[in-house]
Amino acid sequence: MRRNIPLAVTFVVGMLLIVSVFLPPIETIGEDFGVFFSIIAVFAFFLGGGNLIKVHFGKIMKKSNDWEFSLVTVVGFFAMLIIGLFKIGAPGDISTSVTAEGSYFQEMFVYLINPLQSTMYALLAFFVASASYRAFRAKNREATILLVAAFIILLGRTPLGMMLTGWIPESFSIFQVPNLAVWIMNSPNLAGQRAIMIGISLGVVAMSLRLILGIERTYLGGDDKG
C-alpha cells in the first residue's frame, strides 16, 4: 500500500501528461498542473517556514553558538509576515496590492532585499576573476583549448583585441580578434551547445520513463520497508 499507491499515482499522472500533448480536450492539463503545484507548494511552506522557526528558536533557547544571529533572522521573518499580512503602510483599503508603492512591504524590498540581492550577485565579478586565474591553465590539451577559447573571447571584448590585430588586412579580417571571437561564438560554440542540449533532452526522456514506469524509485525510498 505505502509503496504501490504512490507508484500508481506517478504512472497515471505521468502518462496523462504525456498523452495530453496529443489530445486537444486535455491539452491545457499541463497548465492546470502548474496551478496545482503552486497551491501544494504554499502548503509545503508551512513545513519549510515551520522548520526555519524551529531551528532558529532552538538556537536562541539553547543560547548555542551565534544565537544572536538567529534572533535577527526570526525578527526579520516575523516582521515581514506582519507587514505583509496587514499591508502596513499600503495606501487605500485592504484590497490594495501588498506591493503597492509606499507600503512597508515594498520599502523593505527596495531598501533591504534589493541591495542584498544585487550585492550577492555582484560578488560574481570577483569570483569570475579568481576562477579564471585558477582554472585557465594549459595543463593538458583539453585545458589548453578551454584557455585559448576563453582568452580570445576576453581579448575580443576589449579595445586591446583591435589594437593587437587591427593591422591584419581586410581580406583576412576573420583573424582580427573581435571577428574571430564572433566566429567562435557562432560556430564551434553553437555546435557544442547543440550537442549538450540534444543529450540533455534524451537524458530527460529516459529518466522520465524510468520514473513513470517505477524503475527509479529512490525518491520514495530505497526498498520495501518504508
Partner: protein, 310 residues
Amino acid sequence: MLLLTFSDIGLIVTLVIIAAGLGLILKLALKGKEIDRRIIFIFIFFSVASPIIFQIKFSEKATAVVKSIYDKIDNLPEGSKILISFDFDPAMAPEVQPMAIVLGRHALIKGHEVVFMSLWTTGQSLLTEIINEYILPDFPEKQEFIDYVTLGFKAGNEGVLKVIATDFKKMFPVDNNGRPLDSIPIFDGVKSCSDFDLVISIGGGKPGPKEWILFVTDPSNIPMAVGVAAVIAPQMYPYYPAQVLGIMGGVKGAAEYESEFIGNYERFKDMKTPGLLTMGPQTLAHTVIMAFIIIGNIIYFRKRKKEAKS
C-alpha cells in the same frame, strides 16, 4: 601646453598602481608562489572602482561595423529624415540606452529631422525620459514638429511594421500628443518608410531590429542600422553588410560610437557618456583578468619545470 584633467591624473595613477602591483605579483610568481585569491579580489575592486571615481574613459577606436553608422549619419545632407525606434524595456536599458542617447544627439546636431517611436509598451516612458532628460536639454534651439517628433508606442508588433513599410500615416494618423501627422512639417512628403533616409532600431528582443530588417528595410532597400544588446549581437552579424549598414553591440558598441562622436564635436567633448564610462572599468577589469591568467600559467610552467628537474 600640457594640461592634465582630473581623469587623466586618475588614469595615470591607476595604471601605475596596477602595473606595479602586477609586476610585483609576477616577481613572486616567477619564484613559484601561488597567489591568494584575495589579492585578485583587490585588483578587481581597484580596477573597477578607480575608473568610476576618476571617470576614466578609454578612447575606443570605432570598429568598421560601428563606424559605418557614424559615417552614414555624418554624411547625410542636412535635413535628411531619420527614423529611430526604441524597441527595448527597462531591463535591457543599461546596455542600449547609451546608444539611443548618442544617436539622438548626433542626428540633431547634424540638423537632420528625427522621428522617434517605439514598438514596446514599456519603451514609451523610456522614450519620453531619454528625449526630454538627456537629448533635448542640449538642443534648446530645436523645435518639435520641425526638427524632431515623437510618435510614441504603437501596439501591434510586426503588424505595425508591415503597415508602415508601405503607408506610414495609416498606422500613425497622429503623433504622441494627438497631432495629425499631416500637419507636422517633418512628414511633408513622407508616405512610407522608404521616404526616410535612414532607419535605426535599438533593442534586442522581439519585435526589434531583426523584425525591422525582415519586414521593412530589406524588402524596400532602406538604409538600416541597428543597436542591440551584446547577447543578440552575434545573431545580427549575418545581416551585415548587405541588409544592415552597421551594428552596435552592447555597451562596447555604444562606447565606440560615443568616442567617435565626442572626438569630432567640440561642443560635446564633456558630455556624459554612459557607454564609455561603463567600458572604462570593464576594459581594465578584463585586462587584469587576462594578466592573471597569464601569471597563473607562468606559475604552472615554473612548477612543472621544477618537478621535472627533481
